[in-house]
């Protein structure tokens, strides 16, 4: 009985508009497959990577600058070559992607929670609260997000010692990126709340005396989530790029635990001397990942937009 109903639910999902638009877009399917593979690779890195590049005991400086395996001086076990410290580039990409994805996801979640919360309050409460939150958002929107992330990172560096900062680097990154991206969510949610809050179902909930917090969370929120998910997906790509940019500028994660951006920065120093693999492979990995995530976000936006049906 239970299995029957879940089968039917599955079949219904398969026939739904969203699934249909997914099935009919090969590009989206390819993007989804790539993203899934990438996530899997990053998650399983400790088991599938040839080397643990974060474990300094496994590094041998004599392997430094080995070219990819298909070049003359390449060495088995170093498929995509080795970097300046003798780290296997493939392993470093897999492990580095964990840092990048972790920072990406965590900062998106942080920005989303903050943005949704403030957006709901702003839209539902209106008046002075609304004006205040939206003016703060306006001010923040007038700065590029990367500048705000740099600012937050810089202030944190001033507050805590450099040694402590190395340990907390990932948290600092998540907070600085999360805090610089909440505005979009807040504005979108506020706009949607303004539309929704005068609809009958909200009025009905108000009439029966439900507290505002419950109305917002139980009734309004589910109706505004669609667009938020679209923003979140697209922002995931932006957050990963922002992390890479910060690390490229040397204010991200420490170089003993490189993320993709750190790898590109390190490799950048060796481009002139012909050791292209240190920077090109992580760069390609980053570009493909962000492209795939953006394609998914684009598709989701179209699929969830009733006007396009």
């Amino acid at each position: 009985m239970a299995s029957g109903s879940s089968e039917r639910a599955l079949a219904r999902a398969w026939d739904s508009d969203i699934a249909y638009s997914f099935r009919s877009s090969p590009l989206t399917m390819a993007a989804a497959a790539f993203t899934a593979l990438y996530l899997l690779g990053a998650m399983l890195a400790p088991w599938i990577a040839p080397q643990d590049p974060f474990d300094l005991k496994q590094l041998d400086l004599l392997n430094a600058f080995l070219p990819p395996v298909w070049e003359v001086e390449g060495k088995a076990g170093f498929l995509l070559g080795a970097d300046d410290q003798g780290r296997d580039v493939l392993s470093t990409i897999l492990y580095g992607s964990r840092v990048s994805l972790l920072v990406g996801f965590a900062s998106v979640v942080l920005a989303m929670l903050l943005g949704i919360g403030l957006g709901l309050i702003s839209g539902y409460a209106g008046g002075a609260v609304d004006a205040f939150i939206m003016r703060v958002a306006d001010v923040q929107l007038s700065f590029p997000a990367i500048l705000i992330a740099l600012l937050i990172d810089g202030v944190t560096r001033g507050l805590i010692s450099a040694q402590r900062h190395e340990e907390l680097a990932v948290f600092v990154l998540v907070i600085s990126i999360g805090l610089s991206f909440w505005v979009q969510y807040a504005r979108t949610v506020r706009g949607l709340v303004l539309v929704e809050k005068n609809k009958e179902y909200v009025l009905a909930a108000r009439v029966i005396g439900l507290p505002p917090a419950l109305i917002m969370l139980r009734h309004v929120l589910p109706n505004v989530l669609g667009p938020v998910l679209v923003i979140a997906t697209i922002n995931l790509g932006v957050a990963i790029i922002t992390e890479a940019t910060l690390s490229f500028l040397g204010v991200g994660v420490p170089s003993t635990q490189p993320s993709l951006g750190t790898l590109i920065r390190i490799g950048n120093d060796y481009l002139f001397s012909g050791e292209w693999w240190i920077t090109i492979f992580p760069g390609a990995a980053l570009a493909l990942l962000v492209l795939a995530v953006n394609l998914l976000g684009d598709w989701l936006r179209d699929a969830l937009n009733p006007k396009l049906h």
């Binding site: 300094l56 400086l61 004599l62 300046d84 450099a162 040397g250 120093d269 060796y270 002139f272 001397s273």
Partner: protein, 532 residues
């Protein structure tokens, strides 16, 4: 921030290029280094790059010529008139950049300023008893002991104008460990030298122009010199290749070959007298940055030897330095008086022996330590430190590396605080070219009153070495002196006081139309530069 800085430097360089292009006879010169000159104050930091940059603006009593021979500068004649008395005749008619005349009072004032803490130059005055004005054109230095090297020590002691310093509240030196505490001399300069400071934008660029009233005949043909900070290796090399910059130092070892073969650039190289080494905090009873509490592991010679033996210097030489370094086992390199070839033998690289030594010392599980390293001072400094961190990981030592820009790094590790547990430093006895300078400043027990051991960051102390260094300071018999130097080297090696790493190759790269004179201490006086 770094990127913004580079972008700004780029814009300025482009602007200058535009200006330069419009003047037919003008020969502007633009050069770049990884890091900035920390201050315009001549006594802020005892560091070669810093001091040679300042030597373009300020002058000392004596200077070195193209062959490193001592020659007259603000003094015209000098003599050790008695064993403990030196007399200097001053050049007449010299004017500071602001027009005030150069006088004997300025010399007395500047020497005392340099010899008094928080000046970073106090180490050169261990032997000095008093400096005094005899008459308007004569100065005398009285020493506490016989100091045959006093004249050479004065090469990096630059002369400020006393009225200028006093008027502007710069009579006291600034402090290298407190870079934020500036005075008027930090961003302004008033020397007698061949160039005048035009613009100072810390961390970005510094512009100087020839001094039309210089007392000496200029050998350079420069009209304006712009010094820019370009920390990123690839960006610096790209700026040179594109012609945006005429000269760079440091040259990333990986790019040397390309720069030597490119159409418009060339490489100038030679051996450098600088030894890059690692040091340990051996003074504190408990390290500031370690998980070992209640004792200091670095006080145990076995731990120091274990570190030494865990470092694969050949791998650093071939991979990080790409052959552009010579490993050394002494604190001085060939080219310095007192280098002993027979003693330049490193203990074998042997991680297993290192592990055993650690176990013998009671650290079977290893321990955790902080490490300080500059990231814009020596060639590939951060990469060397990272390699060392990985090598030490193999014997169970967890190193928390802090690599930072030189101003912050020097402020942290230098005295009187010496806030480090394990550090990298490079040293070239640039003023005297003699080993005694290394003993006196790096290895003798710290003694601020006697002005010894000022750069003994780790606080290594061995009374035998102290006594030898004091004795050889006054010894004039060369054979006896050399024997004492060799003995002191042996004590240093037996104690594993520091880990000497290598003598880095001295490599400059420049556009093909630039002529420069390369000195073995890696100083780069602009007065020898010609643009064709």
């Amino acid at each position: 921030m770094a990127m913004l800085r580079h972008a700004r430097a780029g814009v300025w360089a482009a602007l200058l290029l535009a200006v330069g292009g419009s003047l037919a006879e003008a020969k502007p010169f633009r050069f770049a280094n990884d890091g900035d000159v920390g201050s315009m104050d001549p006594t802020f930091r005892n560091e070669t790059f810093q001091l040679t940059f300042i030597s373009n603006i300020y002058e000392a009593l004596l200077r070195r010529d193209r062959n490193l021979k001592l020659e007259a500068s603000l003094a015209t004649e000098w003599k050790q008139v008695e064993p403990m008395l030196w007399r200097f005749k001053l050049r007449q008619g010299v004017k500071f950049h602001d027009g005030t005349p150069f006088t004997a009072d300025d010399v007395v004032f500047s020497v005392n300023r340099a010899a008094t803490a928080p000046s970073n130059m106090t180490g050169y005055f261990a032997s000095l008893k008093e400096v005094r004005k005899v008459d308007d054109s004569t100065i005398e230095f009285e020493t506490k002991v016989i100091d045959p090297l006093l004249d050479q020590k004065l090469v990096q002691i630059y002369i400020l104008s006393k009225p200028w310093a006093e008027k502007n509240g710069a009579s006291k030196s600034t402090d290298v460990t407190k870079p934020a505490e500036e005075n008027h001399a930090t961003r302004n300069a008033n020397g007698t030298g061949p160039f005048v400071l035009k613009l100072r934008d810390p961390g970005v660029k510094t512009v100087i122009a020839p001094n039309p009233n210089w007392w000496d005949k200029a050998e350079h043909n420069l009209t304006e010199v712009t010094f820019s900070v370009i920390q990123n290796d690839a960006t610096r090399v790209a700026a040179l290749l594109s012609g945006e910059i005429d000269f760079i130092y440091t040259v990333p070892p990986q790019d040397t070959e390309r720069l030597s073969k490119a159409d418009n650039t060339k490489i100038m190289q030679g051996p450098e007298t600088r030894v890059v080494y690692l040091g340990f905090d051996q003074a504190r009873d408990e390290l500031q940055e370690s998980n070992v509490k209640g004792k200091n592991p670095y006080k145990d010679v076995r731990v120091r030897e274990a570190f030494y033996r865990a470092i694969d210097i050949e791998a650093i030489k071939t991979r990080v330095m790409r052959g552009q370094a010579t490993p050394v086992a002494l604190m001085v390199a060939p080219g310095i008086n007192g280098y002993v070839k027979e003693l330049d033998v490193r203990p074998k690289y042997d991680p297993d022996a290192a592990k055993k030594l650690l176990a013998d010392a009671g650290y079977t599980q290893g321990f955790e330590t902080g490490m300080d390293c500059p990231n814009d001072r020596y060639v590939n400094d951060e990469a060397i430190c990272q390699a060392v961190v990985a090598m030490l990981a193999r014997i169970g030592i967890k190193v928390n590396l802090l690599a930072q820009t030189r101003t912050k790094y020097f402020a942290k590790i230098l005295g009187p605080g010496y806030n480090t547990s394990f550090y990298m430093l490079g040293w070239s006895p640039a003023s005297t070219y003699d080993t005694h300078n290394v003993f006196e400043q790096l290895l003798q027990s710290r003694n601020p009153a006697a002005k010894k051991g000022a750069f003994n960051v780790g606080g290594y102390s061995n009374p035998q070495l102290d006594a030898l260094a004091d004795k050889l300071e006054q010894e004039v018999d060369k054979a006896k002196r050399d024997a004492m130097i060799a003995d002191a080297h042996k004590i240093f090696q037996k104690d594993f006081a520091n880990i000497p790493l290598h003598q880095q190759a001295l490599i400059w790269s420049m556009r093909k139309n630039i002529d420069a004179v390369q000195l073995a201490d890696n100083s780069f006086p602009l007065r020898f530069v010609q643009v064709k």
